[in-house]
């Protein structure tokens, strides 16, 4: 019985398949313009800080995207997925900025089994604004992001929290499509975020204070050690 129900003549099947494909194509045409941000991010050229840094990317951050709904029939909606590029950029940057980079197994907090590190960085994208030529009437794509960083101990106890902005702009003239232009603006914004973080991390007052306390403690440990005993410095979370 069931066999007779699904066996349809070949010509009907091909017509149905063609109809389905046309319908899918029509629906795809109605969807938003999707951009998955892709780029190459260079390693920072700097002396790595002698720290073992853990990093925790939350769901919101690792799958970060923004959606702009079309205001009229002449405009198209935009879906820009930056999550993968964010993770790629921050992994590359932090890997070059710190002696050791560890991806945490879970969010830092009391009772959470995790690796032993000096501190854990948790990045967030708090706000994202952008302009596209249909909004500004000038051929410029711009992306502005505000990041919030939490630097915490493995136990979840806060060390520092600060915000930082990043900006990327690209002219359309050198690009072939709107998607490529938006992608490049996002890549420029991510590079800017990396540059801002790399040059500003040690200048954040709470981070500066934490690093000074660490240095003093390491110095005291060095002095209290007997001169003959030379061991590798252990990773000790403050």
């Amino acid at each position: 019985m069931s066999r007779s129900m699904i066996s349809v003549p070949d010509r009907y099947r091909s017509v149905a398949l063609a109809g389905l494909l046309v319908a899918l194509a029509a629906l795809a045409g109605c969807g938003p313009t999707k951009v998955v941000v892709e780029g190459n991010f260079p390693q920072p050229l700097m002396e790595p800080l002698p720290l073992t840094l853990g990093v925790w990317y939350g769901e919101d951050f690792a799958n970060h995207e923004f959606f702009d709904e079309a205001k009229g029939r002449s405009e198209s909606s935009w879906l820009v997925q930056t999550g993968a590029a964010q993770v790629q950029m921050w992994d590359t940057l932090l890997g070059g900025m710190f002696e050791n980079l560890v991806h945490m197994k879970g969010p830092p907090g009391p009772g959470q089994m995790n690796q032993v590190v000096n501190a854990v960085l948790i990045p967030h994208v708090d706000e994202l604004q952008y302009t596209i030529p249909t909004q500004t009437n000038v051929k410029v794509y711009e992306i502005w992001m505000r990041y919030r960083f939490e630097l915490v101990k493995v136990s979840g106890e806060p060390i520092a929290e600060w915000t930082m902005s990043a900006y990327g702009k690209t002219p359309t003239a050198f690009l072939q499509s709107d998607q490529a232009a938006v992608n490049l603006a996002a890549v420029v914004a991510l590079r800017d975020a990396g540059a801002n973080f790399a040059t500003g991390f040690t200048r954040v007052p709470e981070v500066q204070q934490w690093l000074q306390v660490r240095d003093k403690q390491a110095h005291r440990r060095q002095q209290s050690k007997p001169p003959a005993a030379v061991t590798n410095e252990e990773v000790s979370p403050l």
Partner: protein
Amino acid sequence: MNRSLLRFPLLCCALAVGPGCVTSTVDEMTFNEPAAGIGDASVVILGRRHASDYETEPDFIECVGDHIASRDKSIDVIGELEFINALYPWFEPRTAPLRPEDIDRLLLQEPVAEKMAELKTEYMIWIDGSTVRTDSAGSMTCGIGPGGAGCFGFGTWGNDANYEATIWDFTDKAEVGRINTSASGQSYMPAVVVPIPIIAPVQGTACDGIGDQLLEFLSSEF
């Protein structure tokens, strides 16, 4: 048949007209020119991108670099992207040095100093400026039908280019020259069936102007 006969002379006309006219001026002030050239050292040409209302176009920087490298093969011009990637994050728009004295601050970082030594950069040339469209007028209508397609109308627009190159001597950490070039031109696009673009190569002229002056400074052959 008649249409194709008409199109042929129009196409020939378009090819024969060539580019529009451009007026260009170059001002130059340089010191301590390397009389024997720069030897096996290298030069990097970078665009300034810290202003909020304009950005020096990457293709203009590439054009100047190509102009120099193609006329004097002994000059090693490092690509802009290659250089800023190799020295990330120190030459991004927000972190790039604005004065020659800032180089000392950069070289305090050992990895940066090592990379600079590896690249053998003797001169760093910063180019600041852009090409803008000044005015436009006219209108053009294009249509397509069973018998073919065509346009009718007239359009015109002007372009202004203004660029300044600042030369930093990397060894002495000093500014050793400034070259300013400005160019302007009017482009036209008459269309009778086929649009005939008469483009004024404003940016290209500015590129040649600044490139020639830089070549005179850097090369022993010019």
